[in-house]
Amino acid sequence: MNTPRLVIIDGVRTPFSKMGTDLARLGPEELGRIAVNALLTKTGLNPALIDEVIFGCVGQPADAANVARVIALRAGIPEHVPAFTVHRNCASGCEAVTQAYEKMLAGRGEIFVVGGTESMSQVPLLYIHQAAAKFAKLARAKSIGQRLGAMLSFRPADFKPRIGLQLGLTDPVCGLNMGETAEILAREYGVTRDKQDAFALESHARAIAARDKLDEEICPIYPPSTRAVVSSDNGPRKEQTIAALTKLKPVFDRKNGTVTAGNSSQITDGAVALLVMSEMKAAELGMTPIGAMTGYAYAGCDPQRMGLGPVYAIAEAERRTGITLDHADVVEINEAFAAQVIACLACLKSDEFAQKHLKRDHHVGKIPKDVLNVNGGAIALGHPVGATGARLILTSLKELNRRQGKRALISLCVGGGQGAAIWLERN
């Protein structure tokens, strides 16, 4: 292939911690800073050589606008290196990498620090518009009378917060919560509660078994003003059982639903940083990459069935790269919901789906069990939305190296009706 490749030199990530636990006090800028700092320390790269810093973040912090720039400066990257933040919902971490790829192809830089960061613990609560208007009125009030009047206009209901996280996980176009879109797939593709729970149990089991492997990706965090160390993910449950999963109540459709907190991805804090560069630059600097990116695709689909995004994206990636699914030695499909991943697997191997939705005669392919999400997925590890895309690249490349395989494919469904797919390979 003649297109130049973007190589991934190395990557690190923070531990992934469930919302409200170990990392709850650290904002996305702090998580990102720690990851980038650890990456630079680990690789020993002179930060002045970096051409740009690109970070994905979904719940961008109000007190650290363009969080990528904040991360870059605080991680010790010199001020002459520019930085920007990208947002493609759950694929924001992928977007950061593909942006670097495009920039490299366009001749706009060779060395990039990319990644994603998310503190779902710190997504703020918001005031309703009506209350905001009253606050504005109060701020403008000059006389005591005006001020008193403005204050008296408040009603208890004005102080009921809008929960930012909930808003972020609701599609503003179709009006459905992400979980509700998963319920649709469960119904339409016959993904039973049992199948979903079994899938979730497998995710935990695999993540627990892979604990040492996953720890290789992790830079420990020393939360300030404690003497503690957080050095492992706290999502995977060793004692997870089918019985416990079966007991959980459906969250999104309480009466007839099948999607529970147990078979959905966990809400999590974490950040990932990757050092990527052109193949030529890596050779020049004498750095050995862990892998390379060969192509990618984003594709749109029905927002109400956003969970099928990977099917569209993988098909589109095949069209662009010519690489077929059966070439993948490792596949990661982000486990937003067990129902959604299972539905994707069904659609990928369905000729009917291919003909109806993908404008092709035959199905895309089958993914063997021992290739898909072999070290567990977001159901066990958690899904810090802006960071996950970058984690899948890191985790899959490490696994590809362990297996001495050639190619890896990572894919995510994206809220709003999109899919992302990236092809990676080992040298």
Binding site: T41, G44, Y222, T226, R227, V229, S231
Partner: protein
């Protein structure tokens, strides 16, 4: 803007005489005379005789020009307004008359400035201390920039003198007696914000607008600037009984703190309080007489010497001039600290606060977590003290990259190892660091006891191995020993010295020998204290006599602070190397066996209770007496013994070429141990006592206890009538 300048006669004379222009004058369109201090070829402005004369000439010009509406005094320097009087000139004044002339000249020029009948405003940016602030006090109004370099105050008492160009007179009249005493007696310099709060300045404005703002102020407020209503509280403090009450109270505090060792502070109290009840002129006479009296004291001379030694350390190159000129390596940007314990953490914290990126390496996460939390505590305390802002503290923390695994260290300019004090471990470490480091990386050890030359043998590049020995607590102790091993390259010495200076510490270059300089001299002293105690001397007597001598802390208390375990280890180690004269007292190991570790365990020679409370002597400590031979010694005799041993070891250091000069020994001891600064250090003190007397005293003691035998350098000097310091 070009403004035609009117040349006065004096100016013409100056040009004829080819004197450099020290103060530039410029008259604005609005008829405001701006005087800009701008000493040619110097980064600093100082008040020497020529500058005072120049200022006087400008005042003549102002008095001759009735069209002028006001005067603004400012500086053109980046970081200095006026750094006070020229200490070289002051200290070199041969006769009291010379000093008197200088004082009177300054007083009269500043007085004339104060009497000009148009408003005068000082526009301050940079260090504005001593005479520099006194000239501002003679102005009607003071505006300062909020920049970090702006420091305002009267540090004279720290040099053993009093502010005598009107500072002791005008400051209490401006800000009231209690606050003025706080500044003058403490020899304090303040940042702009606290200076504004206490009234030392009247306003803050950005550096770029200072002069403009001063001019506007003169145009707007005019003569009103000249009048300053006295506050009720200021007047109250002048009332006899109130004044006496304040004076007595402060005097008591001062005596408690200084034990009468710092006559300048007592004198300043006297001048300020008495001067306040008198006229300005009479008060100025008090100032003058006080400084003349103090200027002739040994304490004052010694304090000024230390000032110069500090300045010398800031500029030191540590090697011969040709080596210093040879290479140009930029400032240190990245270091690695190996070991996240108290010392390693302290070094990482300090370097990171000085804009340096630090990799903090230790073997496991818990050690790093502990180290980082210690560093955060130092930063938090700094924020509480207003030494730095929260943002600066966070930026400092951000510069520290922890790692519990090997990472590339090739970009580190300096690696400072601060791991456990075990030779085999250090050798292994250095062999590994030698591989990880880049070709230009300096490999430094913070060891306080082990041989640098021996550590260096573990590497392939012994020439880049050096000792950079910080003292605990790193963020408070200014002294750093730069230890030169047998094979250390001069270039590496130079870079290490530069690094120490870059991070605002004061280097002293020492040769590699057990204990280096400071610990080598301190240990015989601590050992002797232990020995005296063991043989019956009371803890109170041993410590009190050294406090009387002028040490900041008694030796037994110091052992508690350092930790009985650490003291015992260091003392035993050094004693094993100098067994002819040092023997580690058994009392320390006995205390260790009983878990009396000093401050960290709550009990040692003292019982350490809560933070901030003075520890009391451990009531059960008497059982550790094992003899009675020293029980009857007076405090004077105790003091003599301990001091003599320090002098002797100091002389040995000089004799053995650990340092090049007597001044290095004295500087090291004062900065490293707080050795009575007003005595000028152990060797200066010995010179002043008289070496023959020192030797005689030692010989007398040596009859019974051979460790008091004076070293041959002492004997030779005493025998030939020489001293440690020439002239």
């Amino acid at each position: 803007m070009i403004v035609p300048r009117t040349e006065s006669v004096t100016e013409v004379i100056r040009k004829v005489q080819d004197m450099p222009e020290l103060i530039r004058r410029h008259v604005t369109d609005d008829q405001i005379c701006v005087l800009t201090f701008d000493r040619p070829d110097s980064a600093a402005n100082i008040f020497d005789k020529a500058t005072l004369v120049d200022l006087n000439n400008h005042i003549n010009f102002i008095l001759c020009n009735s069209s002028l509406k006001g005067v603004v005094i400012t500086s053109a320097k980046k970081s200095i307004f006026v750094a006070g009087a020229d200490l070289t000139q002051l200290s070199k004044a041969k006769t009291p008359d010379e000093l008197r002339d200088m004082i009177e000249l300054g007083q009269s020029v500043f007085n004339r400035l104060a009497m000009i009948n148009i408003p005068s405003v000082a526009a301050i940016h940079g260090a504005c201390v001593g005479g520099g602030y006194e000239v501002c006090l003679a102005c009607d109004y003071r505006i300062a920039s909020p920049d970090k370099v702006t420091k305002i105050g009267l540090p004279e008492t720290q040099l053993g003198i009093v502010p005598a160009w009107g500072g002791s007179t005008r400051l209490p009249r401006l800000i009231g007696l209690p606050k003025a005493l706080d500044i003058i007696l403490g020899g304090k310099t303040l940042a702009a914000k606290p200076a504004l709060k206490c009234g030392m300045i009247d306003d803050i404005a950005p550096r770029e607008y200072l002069v403009e703002k001063a001019c506007q102020l003169i145009l707007k407020r005019g003569a009103k600037l000249r009048v300053r209503p006295t506050k009720f509280m200021h007047r109250l403090a002048k009332v006899g009984p109130v004044l006496n009450f304040i004076a007595k109270k402060v005097q008591k505090q001062v005596l408690q703190k200084t034990r009468g060792h710092y006559p300048a502070i007592t004198k300043a109290l006297e001048v300020v309080t008495q001067g306040l009840t008198k006229s300005i002129d009479a008060s100025l006479v008090l100032e003058r007489d006080a400084i003349l009296e103090l200027g002739s004291t040994e304490a004052c001379r010694n304090l000024i010497r230390i000032f110069f030694l500090q300045e010398r350390a800031k500029k030191l190159s540590g090697v011969a001039a040709d080596v210093a000129a040879e290479s140009k390596v930029g400032p240190v940007k990245r270091i690695t600290v190996v070991g996240a314990g108290i010392m390693g953490g302290g070094i990482a914290q300090w370097a990171s606060s000085r804009d340096i990126s630090v990799i903090l390496r230790d073997i496991n996460h818990d050690a790093i977590a502990k180290g980082l939390s210690g560093i955060a505590k130092i930063y938090d305390a700094g924020v509480k003290r207003h030494a730095l802002t929260r943002v600066e503290a966070r930026a400092g923390m951000d510069r520290i990259s922890p790692s519990a695994v090997d990472v590339p260290l090739h970009s580190a300019d300096v690696i400072v190892e601060a791991a456990v004090e075990k030779m085999d471990l250090k050798k292994k470490l250095f062999a590994r660091l030698d591989e990880l480091a880049g070709p230009n990386t300096i490999l430094a050890s913070n060891t306080s006891a082990l041989s640098i030359s021996e550590i260096a043998t573990a590497t392939k590049h012994p020439e880049r191995v050096i000792g950079i020995h910080f003292f605990n607590p790193v963020h408070r102790m200014q002294l750093v020993e730069v230890v030169v091993g047998r094979q250390t390259a001069p270039e590496v010495v130079r870079r290490a010295v530069k690094f120490v200076q870059q991070i605002g510490k004061l280097p002293v270059v020492v040769r590699d020998a057990p204990g280096f300089l400071v610990n080598r001299i301190l240990m015989p002293y601590l050992i002797e204290a232990g020995h005296l105690f063991e043989n019956g001397a009371r803890v109170e007597d041993v410590d009190e006599c050294m406090l009387e001598f002028g040490m900041p802390m008694g030796p037994l208390r110091l052992i508690d602070e350092v930790g009985v375990d650490v003291s015992n280890h260091v003392a035993a180690d050094l004693a094993s190397k100098f067994s002819d004269r040092m023997h580690c007292p058994d009392v320390l190991s006995k205390m260790l066996a009983d878990q009396l570790l000093g401050k960290k365990s709550g009990k040692g020679f003292y019982v350490h209770t809560k933070k901030g409370r003075e520890p009391v002597v451990n009531p059960r400590i008497d059982k550790y007496h094992s003899g009675t031979s020293c029980a009857k010694l007076t405090r004077d005799e105790l003091q003599t013994r301990m001091v003599l041993l320090m002098i002797n070891e100091s002389a040995r250091c000089l004799e053995g070429g650990i340092v090049d000069e007597a001044a290095d020994v004295d500087f090291g001891m004062i900065m490293g141990t707080g050795f009575a600064p007003f005595l000028g250090g152990p060797l200066r003190f010995a010179d002043n006592v008289g070496l023959p007397q020192v030797v005689a005293e030692m010989k007398r003691l040596a009859d019974e206890e051979p460790r008091f035998t004076p070293c041959s350098l002492l004997q030779t000097l005493a025998g030939t009538g020489q001293t440690f310091y020439k002239s």
